[in-house]
């Protein structure tokens, strides 16, 4: 039967049956449609919510950021010469990271070096944290320049004596008058203020406190300035290196390679700590899994309900068609051919019902997502599940009527009035 096109004929015959019995076909397809719509719509709503939650986490928690932090090496007794000679986390580690094979996934790098210093202006004198920043620190942390300018590449490279202030710091050190162009002294170093960052705020609800308030306390200077003139550190040691990797899977690979590179830079000493990417991955996948399961289950229930209706409709229609089955058998159709014809019809109907179900499911998900103010996310996986379940149940519930039809005795089927 290879080149006889039997499959094509069966599909075209099934299509004719469906087309010529629109009422019956519609009833049968409705069950499938509702099941598919329920699985697809439900999963999409849950995906949309999860994506929204992820966006919030990204903004406040930074799940797309991979941090490298220095740690103390715990040693019994006196430290070895190797440990004493070790330099800790430094700018060279950030450069190694950017040179990694898997660094393609990295879209930004930031370095920082914290220093505690006395900060003086004409109007204030306070002990403050000063942050030495490098590379993409400003952009990665979402700071936006409101007045003046940000650091130029040259500033960061050469360690120019310039500073950009957070909005709180600006209002403390310069409560009145011009800010940009004024001078502050950080420790012994006179530094010129070249810009002010816009206020950062994030509130879960209106009226609640600004949980980003601490970020406005920033006093940023080039990290090379901190290393060169404040710490006198030739090795440009750092407190934190942050790589931004939007793709979590790629982040897992990158973090592995990075750990190896930094370890070898540090003469095989574990004096640094990397964020645990595996834990993040796990959290990302477990979130919403319960909801997906619930929607999957409701879809399955709809499909089972629809499937049982289909069995009944198929059996009833078999009574109308029993004579045709007899004719086909008389002209030589074996039972399995009759079986295949019934199955083809049921599965074709399932596919058609699924197609309509997609549309209904998308509209359903869009309406709900829209009403709760969340952008709609359609994951390929939801389409996959919806189709798989519909086909599985379509197949399962078609088996009995198809088997019953195929086991008719041809003579009795022909005599059937």
């Amino acid at each position: 039967m290879k080149r006889s096109g039997a499959f094509r004929e069966r599909v075209s015959e099934a299509w004719i049956e469906i087309r010529e019995n629109p009422g019956r076909s519609l009833l049968q397809a409705i069950g499938v449609m509702l099941g598919v719509a329920s699985v697809l719509g439900g999963m999409s709503i849950s995906d949309s919510q999860r994506r929204q939650a992820e966006r919030i986490f990204t903004r406040i928690g930074g799940i797309d950021k991979l941090n490298v932090l220095p740690t103390d090496v715990i040693a019994d007794g006196a430290p070895s010469a190797l440990q004493t000679a070790n330099l800790g986390l430094r700018l060279a580690d950030a450069d190694s990271g950017q040179g990694a094979v898997t660094a393609k996934a990295v879209n930004a790098v930031s370095v920082q070096r914290q220093v505690r210093a006395r900060v003086r202006s004409e109007q204030a004198d306070q002990e403050r944290d000063v942050t030495g920043v490098g590379a993409d620190y400003v952009a990665m942390n979402g700071y936006v320049i409101e007045q003046g300018r940000g650091f130029s590449a040259r500033d960061l490279e050469a360690g120019t004596s310039v500073a950009v202030l957070g909005s709180e710091a600006a209002s403390v050190f310069f409560p009145t008058g011009e800010i940009v162009g004024k001078q502050v002294r950080i420790g012994d170093v006179p530094v010129r203020v070249i810009g002010v960052f816009a206020e950062k705020s994030f509130r879960f609800r209106d009226g609640q406190q600004n949980i980003f308030a601490w970020r406005n306390r920033l006093i940023a200077v080039p990290s090379s300035l901190v290393a060169g003139r404040m710490n006198g550190d030739l090795y440009h040691r750092l407190d934190r290196i942050t790589f931004r990797v939007p793709d979590l899977a790629a982040m897992a690979n990158f973090s592995q390679e990075l750990a190896g590179l930094v370890t070898s830079n540090h003469r095989l000493q574990k004096d640094f700590r990397l964020d645990d990417v595996a834990k993040r991955l796990e959290r990302q996948f477990s979130q919403g899994a319960v909801y997906n399961l619930i929607f999957l289950l409701s879809g399955v229930l709809a499909l089972i309900g629809g499937g049982m209706v289909n069995v009944n409709i198929q059996l009833a229609s078999l009574k109308e068609r029993v004579r045709e089955v007899g004719v086909k058998m008389a002209i030589g159709a074996p039972g399995r051919e009759i079986f295949k014809a019934f199955m083809t019809e049921a599965l074709l109907l399932t596919l058609l019902g699924s197609a309509v179900g997609y549309a209904v499911g998308i509209v359903f998900a869009w309406t709900i997502a829209h009403s709760i103010g969340v952008p709609l996310t359609l994951a390929p996986l939801s389409f996959f599940w919806a189709t798989l379940l519909a086909l599985a149940f379509g197949f399962l519930f078609a088996l009995y009527p198809a088997a019953k039809a195929s086991r008719q005795s041809p003579m009795e089927a022909l005599r059937y009035e």
Binding site: M1, R3, S4, G5, A6, R8, E9, E13, I16, E17, E20, R323, E324, G326, V327, K328, M329, A330, I331, G332, A333, P334, G335, R336, E337, S409, P410, M411, L414
Partner: protein, 228 residues
Amino acid sequence: MKIIETCGLTKVFGSNGNAVHALRGIDLEIRRGEFVALIGPSGSGKSTLMAILGCLDVPSAGSYALDGRQVERLAGADLAAIRNEKIGFVFQQYNLLPRATIARNVELPMLYAGVPRKERRRRGQELLERVGILDKAGALPSQLSGGQRQRVAIARALANRPALLLADEPTGALDSQTGQEVLALFRELHEQGNTVLLVTHDPTIAALAERRVELRDGLLHDQEAMAA
């Protein structure tokens, strides 16, 4: 060469207590190229014999060789393959598939036989031309007259070049004029070498056949050879 050779065919319906003996031992031989009429009143066992000869049913006892092959023990798919390959049915009620076009109806037995699509198309056209309704190939059975439908049924019966054409009251649902035309077609097919077994209750129709076989109360009563 014998197309049909039966020996002691019996068919019993029901069980011990109220068994009905529809056939009580049929010995029948039909040679290749014969035109035989099977006649008998209703209740004589005609339909039962026709079902067994047509491989739609199996006998309770006795042997049946169709075109040299013993078929009395076959079942299911094997019997379906024999029907497909060796027998062309023509029914009183035409029994065309109502939602399939004329062309598709005629091609269906070839589809089951696994004939490639192109060959099916070609032969389907050839058959429709032979019975004189090629122009209706795209129509549905409901758009045709009774006589035309019976022609389609005959074309379908010939599709796989069967060893035996089995016609059950083929003119029963037609007016006499159309019935005559259909019978003429059977005679023509017979003259071209086909073996035809015509089942009827009407002696005037049976008179058209070369040979008449009469069935009464489950027994072949009378076998009379007639001049063509």
